[in-house]
């Protein structure tokens, strides 16, 4: 390697910088390999995927990159597919419920630990531990927990809850969990929307499993945030006679806002492209109650060999995630 590749020592700002050999083109050159890799493997493939999504390639075999007529024909079909509409509905419902619960549970756990209740370090690890597992492990375990014949419903029997209900003449408590095909609510929609817009009950257990896995992550984020709030602020609040509740409500939680935003963004992009947890836990669910665009994309591409339709579904997923990530990145860049 050429010796002139060693970066020049940093000069104090008030002395005029001396031009060294190659300084003008060295840094672009050093960046080139990763920029080229980025262009090819990220943006190149995104472009390729978009092209396939407007092409006629819907058969196994060599690529058919001729543009379909009209060019948006594949997207037209995609958005008219009832199953894809259901998938989009599920993604949105799942994301909202999951983010809400994960953040609330994470914040509560962080506050409890922050108050130095007995055994804090032990519980901190216990709460964070599920985050270390793979979604596949979580999915398989929770699938059995929420199986109506073998899982948590047996607990209702053994705890005597069903016996108690029987005493009052009520039927046993036996929710269908993952097998419940009901969709609660039905928002009025134009005719083009073939999916019933409401909350699919089978999605609730999946939300619980995801919250179980990732609220520990939210907790860790909040713990870090709580650590940065100085004791002076708390003491000042106490001197002014604020109750604990008011101190958290009006001072600490507002101060944690940047943490909340980061947590929502990170968890939000996980949930928008979720695939593995749902694939392992419930598959597409009864009547597609837990189907998501990721599974739809996988099945259209690799099972049905409709490469254009699968590519279109991935482009839609990319746009959804970009809607969350791009404003966040733009804001972070501005702060720099």
């Amino acid at each position: 390697m050429a010796t002139n590749a060693i970066p020049a020592p940093i000069e104090p700002e008030n002395t005029p910088p001396k031009r060294r050999l190659g300084e003008g083109w060295m840094s672009p050159l050093m960046l080139a390999p990763s920029v080229i890799a980025l262009i090819v493997f990220i943006y190149g493939f995104i472009g390729m995927t978009f092209w396939i999504s407007i092409s006629n390639w819907r058969k196994a075999g060599p690529m058919d990159l001729s543009i379909s007529d009209p060019w948006w024909g594949v997207y037209d079909r995609l958005f008219n597919d009832r199953r894809f509409q259901i998938g989009l509905r599920n993604t949105i419902i799942f994301t909202v419920l999951f983010l809400l619960l994960a953040v609330v549970v994470g914040l509560l756990l962080a506050i409890l630990l922050d108050r130095h209740i007995f055994g804090g370090s032990v519980f901190r690890n216990i709460f964070l531990f599920p985050y270390a597992l793979s979604f596949i492990v979580t999915g398989v375990s929770w699938r059995w927990i929420f199986n109506p014949e073998s899982g948590v419903n047996l607990l209702f029997d053994h705890l005597g809850i069903n016996w108690l209900l029987a005493q009052f003449g009520a039927g046993p408590l036996k929710p269908g969990w993952l097998t419940n095909p009901e969709v609660i609510g039905n928002l009025p929609m134009p005719d083009a929307v073939k999916a019933q817009i409401g909350i699919p009950m089978a999605l609730i257990p999946v939300v619980i499993a995801a919250v179980w896995q990732l609220s520990g992550f939210a907790m860790a984020m909040y713990l870090a945030g709580l650590g940065t709030i100085s004791t002076e602020v708390r003491e000042a609040a106490q001197l002014d006679g604020a109750s604990t509740w008011r101190m958290y409500r009006d001072i600490i939680i507002p101060l944690l806002k940047p943490i909340t935003v980061s947590t929502l963004i990170i968890l939000g992009h996980v949930s928008l492209k979720i695939f593995d947890l749902i694939f392992a836990m419930s598959g597409t669910g009864p009547g597609f109650a837990t189907d998501v665009p990721g599974i739809y994309m996988f099945e259209q591409t690799f099972k049905a060999t409709r490469y254009n339709l699968g590519a279109a579904a991935s482009v839609v997923m990319l746009i959804m995630v970009s809607l969350v990530i791009v404003p966040y990145l733009a804001r972070t860049m501005k702060d720099l």
Binding site: R58, K59, A60, G61, P62, R82, R83, I136, R143, F146, N147, P148, E149, G176, W177, L178, T179, P181, A202, D276, S282, G283, T284, G285, P286, G287, F288, A289, F298, E299, Q300, F302, K303, A304, T305, R306
Partner: protein, 444 residues
């Protein structure tokens, strides 16, 4: 590199995962189990098709990585090694997803112009759409004729490997897809009369009796949606009969017809008697319900018997063709292809000669839990159940399965599967029939 002869199998870590997805697992090399339950094929009786000089290598691609099925594959390797002791076999097996991972990995290789010497494929539309149509598979009619397979392979199976008069697959083993496995004890306890030739009316009458006793008559595991499709196809062909069912795939039977409506209505009746938790179980979970006596019967393929064998509960089982389908044999068939531009053409051809032989198939089938694709192969090594299945195979009309990709193109299969998944919840007969018609139109 270790050779196969040292009783270890090589594998090549090919770059499959890169483009595909995280769950693709390239199987690590598996030690060949030293099982000698069945006699090894005597190599002397297998004819050598191509007497050219064998190349040094043979690479065979499959998704047979599980216990049993991999042992069966090893029996085929042993038969080949018996003839060509100096050839080193590379076992390129990809695990998972009932072959869907393997197919994704294989298509990457085929598109990249790097075919193995032979790969596993199902018959019918899967073979046609994925391999013959794109030009990856070569016609092997000469090999077929040299082995006289027209006499040994039933017509229904023969049709599934033929495109425009040329053969593209050497069948190795066949599973039966339309079997009703039932728990004998449940039948006895509830005073039911089991028969080998049940009709749907008989079965639904039994189901009523069982419903009063609180026992689901049909165990279904619809988490993997193929199981519901398989139940539907068995009901569909029971209603239509073999010829009209075959007509669905060449356009001579109309998906809008009254017979289809009747089949869907019967399907809806069956669904009144399924286990409540079907959407959280897979087919083997459903089979467990039957083995434990918590449900009466399940409509599944041969491989469900394999699940009973592994749990040592075969003695509780009774079996018959699915109601109304006696005389029909839904084949789920595996075979091997001849690739265009095989890297080792002489070995590739001789490999097909081995797997197409009655001797090799007879040793393969007991391990795989299927029956030999050749009706002239020895079936004495099979279980009681296997011998029953083989006898059905010899006498029944062989038809193709939707759920296993032989009857319809992959896109149509997914559309049918999606429509049935919706039907399990909404039970909207007209909507399912419309969706089935549209799926057929879209496949044109």
């Amino acid at each position: 590199m270790q050779t196969f002869r040292s009783r270890k199998i090589n594998r090549r870590q090919f770059a499959a995962g890169s483009a595909v997805f995280a769950t693709v697992a390239v199987m690590p090399g598996i030690r060949v189990a030293a099982q000698d339950a069945s006699p090894a094929a005597s190599p002397a009786t297998i004819a050598i098709l191509n007497d050219g000089t064998p190349e040094s290598d043979l690479e065979v691609f499959s998704w047979w990585t599980g216990p049993g099925e991999h042992d069966g594959l090893v029996k085929l390797y042993e038969a080949f090694i018996g003839l060509f002791p100096d050839v080193q076999i590379t076992d390129a097996a990809v695990a998972g997803g009932a072959g869907s991972n393997a197919k994704a990995a294989l298509s990457t290789r085929l598109e990249g112009g790097d075919p193995p010497d032979s790969w596993q494929s199902h018959a019918g539309k899967e073979l046609q759409e994925l391999y013959q149509g794109p030009g990856y598979a070569e016609p092997l009619t000469d090999i077929w004729n040299a082995m006289g397979l027209d006499d040994a392979i039933p017509q229904g199976l023969n049709d599934q490997v033929t495109v425009d008069g040329e053969k593209y697959l050497i069948p190795v083993g066949v599973h039966m897809g339309n079997v009703l496995f039932a728990n004998k004890q449940v039948a006895t306890d509830n005073g039911l009369e089991w028969s080998d030739t049940l009709t749907s009316d008989d079965f639904l009458a039994m189901a009523d009796t069982l419903k009063e006793a609180g026992i689901p008559a049909i165990a279904l595991g619809s988490k993997d949606s193929f199981a519901a499709v398989q139940l539907f196809e068995n009901i569909l062909m029971g209603q239509l009969g073999g010829d009209a069912y075959n007509g669905l795939w060449d356009g001579s039977t109309d998906w809008g017809g009254d017979d289809i409506t009747a089949a869907i209505e019967t399907f809806a009746k069956y669904l009144d008697y399924v286990n409540d938790d079907h959407s959280s179980l897979t087919w083997d979970g459903a089979m467990d319900l039957v083995l434990n006596g918590t449900a009466f019967a399940t409509s599944m393929g041969d491989w469900a018997y394999g699940a009973a064998v592994s749990k040592e509960k075969t003695d509780v089982l009774a079996w018959a063709a699915h109601p109304d389908t006696d005389g029909l044999y839904v084949s789920v068939m595996d075979g091997f292809t001849l690739p265009k531009d095989a890297p080792h053409p002489v070995n590739a051809e001789n490999w097909l000669g081995v797997v197409g032989s009655a001797e090799a198939q007879a040793t393969f089938a007991p391990y795989k839990g299927c029956i030999p694709a050749r009706t002239d192969a020895d079936t004495s090594g099979l279980s009681d159940y296997g011998q029953w299945s083989a006898s059905q195979f010899g006498s029944a009309q062989v038809v193709a399965s939707i759920a296993h990709g032989a009857a319809a193109a992959p896109g149509q299969v997914l559309d049918i599967t999606d429509a049935i998944t919706s039907f399990l919840v909404d039970k909207d007969v007209a909507a399912l029939q419309d969706a089935l018609s549209m799926a057929a139109e879209d496949a044109q």
